[in-house]
């Protein structure tokens, strides 16, 4: 146990470096601010009037929320997804520029190094998610203090799982440019196929759903873990769930542990 304190110091050191890196990276910060603005203020405001529309006199969707309110939690998740998965660039950077060796010859065990890094990445991603919360009033979302606290805790857990996922991806990609393309081909399909920008009405039965959406899309949405992750955050922020929120929390928990162990296997090889 006498080696516990030094390891804790080491984890803190690794975490601190990631935070410094994230706060000094102006490009990343700019992306973290501009992305939610575009999504909420342009897409959200633009589509808002069509959300509860009656199509040819027939009401297709009955949700007690505006599109902006509905989209708001999804934009937070999108921001977290980008920052977490882009975090893998930090891992690739360390590898390509030799800094990884400095870490690997240090007395810190690999799991502690990875934990520090992932905690750092998750902190940065949570920060970017929290940035979006500031826009809540523009999206007509009113938040209480416990709601905010709950949301931040959940966002951190989600960031942790996604950051580990990013590290796993980093192990499979050899270069920066490749990773940029790769991450976009992972993030955007996951995001769009997750009931984040359009709702599955919980009041509809599955047969009725199939009437409004093609079967394959519904299958994709049901199979996509991000669906449940977004849904759980919606439950916290606007009190609207399409699925039992336990599924979302459970998946995030499993993701945190599962992806961390998977990342540990690929890290530092």
């Amino acid at each position: 146990m006498n080696s516990f304190l030094p390891i804790l110091r080491g984890i803190h050191g690794v975490w601190l470096r990631e935070i410094m890196r994230a706060t000094r990276d102006k490009g990343q910060l700019l992306g973290g601010v501009s992305r939610p603005l575009i999504w909420l203020l342009i897409l959200g405001v633009g589509l808002n009037p069509y959300f509860r529309g009656e199509v040819f006199g027939e009401v297709r969707l009955v949700l007690p929320y505006s599109y902006l309110q509905f989209l708001f939690p999804a934009v937070i998740v999108l921001n977290i997804m980008y920052t977490s998965i882009q975090f893998a660039v930090s891992v690739i950077w360390d590898r390509e520029f030799g800094f990884l060796r400095e870490i690997l010859v240090s007395p810190m065990p690999r799991w502690a190094v990875l934990l520090g890094k992932v905690l750092g990445g998750a902190t940065a991603a949570t920060g970017h998610g929290t940035l979006v919360l500031i826009l809540a009033r523009f999206a007509d979302v009113t938040l209480t203090a416990p709601q905010v606290a709950q949301a931040i805790a959940y966002m951190f857990a989600l960031s942790f799982a996604l950051t580990c996922f990013g590290v796993v991806l980093a192990g499979k990609v050899r270069s920066f440019e490749g990773f940029g393309v790769f991450s976009n081909t992972v993030i955007l399909p996951l995001y769009f196929a997750s009931s984040s920008v359009f709702p599955l009405d919980p009041s509809l039965t599955r047969t009725q759903l199939v009437a409004s959406y093609p079967e394959w899309l519904i299958m994709l949405i049901y199979a996509n873990p991000i669906t449940y992750a977004v849904d759980a955050l919606r439950g916290i922020l606007i009190n609207f769930n399409q699925f039992p929120p336990q599924i979302g929390f459970g998946l995030v928990g499993i993701g945190m542990i599962g992806f961390f162990l998977w990342a540990l296997r690929s890290f530092g090889r």
Binding site: G13, M20, R21, F97, G98, R101, E102, S106
Partner: protein
Amino acid sequence: MIPAAGFPNRQRLHFTRASPKPYICGLSLRPPEGYGRGEVNQTNCQEADFAGRSISLLIQPHETAERAGPAVRVEHLSLKYGGQVALDDVSLSIGRGSSFALLGPNGAGKTSLISVLATLREADKGLVEVAGHDLRRASRQVRLSIGMVFQDPSLDDRLSAEENLDFHGRVYGMPGRARADAIDRMLDLVELTGWRETVVRSFSGGMKRRLEIARALMHEPQILFLDEPTVGLDAQTRARIWAYLNRQRCERGLTLLTTTHYIEEVEDADRICIIDKGRIIAEGTPGQLKRELGQSFLHVVAATPADHAALLAAYPGAHAIGAETLAIPAGEEDFVAGFLARFGNRLREMRFEGPTLEGVFLSLTGRVLRDRTDGEREAQRNAGRRAGRR
């Protein structure tokens, strides 16, 4: 010089040396069993009369005597890398407080060996002990007791000098106070105090090198690995850092393991190990190697291509250095006279070289150390850069 047995608690030694150095343990001193080199230090050195070339030492037993075993012990180490043999049955032992140099061209296996010793790469076969710890069983202890200066930069160039050192201190588990002290001390040693808060990206190559050496020494390792350490350092800084390292060797038994292809740097080492194609081909003190393996060479440039061919035909043992120069082994005493009688008027240039380590390497491998490695290193660096950009 030193009594072999019955070594008392306090002992006065007298010996002389042709070119005195300010640090006692730079001398070839062999204390008896149980008394490591670490005990001989400046505080117990008395009456150092450098002008008169005699030094009196007062040797006292020391705590370090208990751990006087070798700093590094390698037995029958083999390593394959990418299907190629990188190390082939390497065995060596490095004494505590000594300065050990690995000499060889690039690709010889120097960096592979260091990677294994620094726990970065796992050996296929063989036993490795670093600072008395088995590499396989106690890698954490091994890592705590080594400092590492890599061949290529390994700093985070978006952090400042201070932040790089602070990160290192934290990762090595140093408490806040000790960390701050060590940062001050180390920045002062490598003369970077004025650049404390400057981001490393704007540093010159030599400054980065200095910072890396400072970082490797920060946690007071028992063994310091220096992989091509002083590339890009000016003579003054190099001398300053070596003086510090030598003082550390005396005061606390720091062991140095250097890899290099600069002959001048290893002349000062206690022991040299020449390595080529993954095998140790010679080991000993610089003097020993030169005496036993050193050869005199006659470096000549022929006047015409025809003369060049004639020289090659007459001396099949000659090594070609570059396009024009030939290095002809000049073993026998009257060799030069005989050579001049035969070829004296068919030469453009001629230079006689007595036994040097360069010559030792040449006669062992048939290659020149420096020319070859510089070209390859450059090519390798460029390849690395291209790969990074891809």
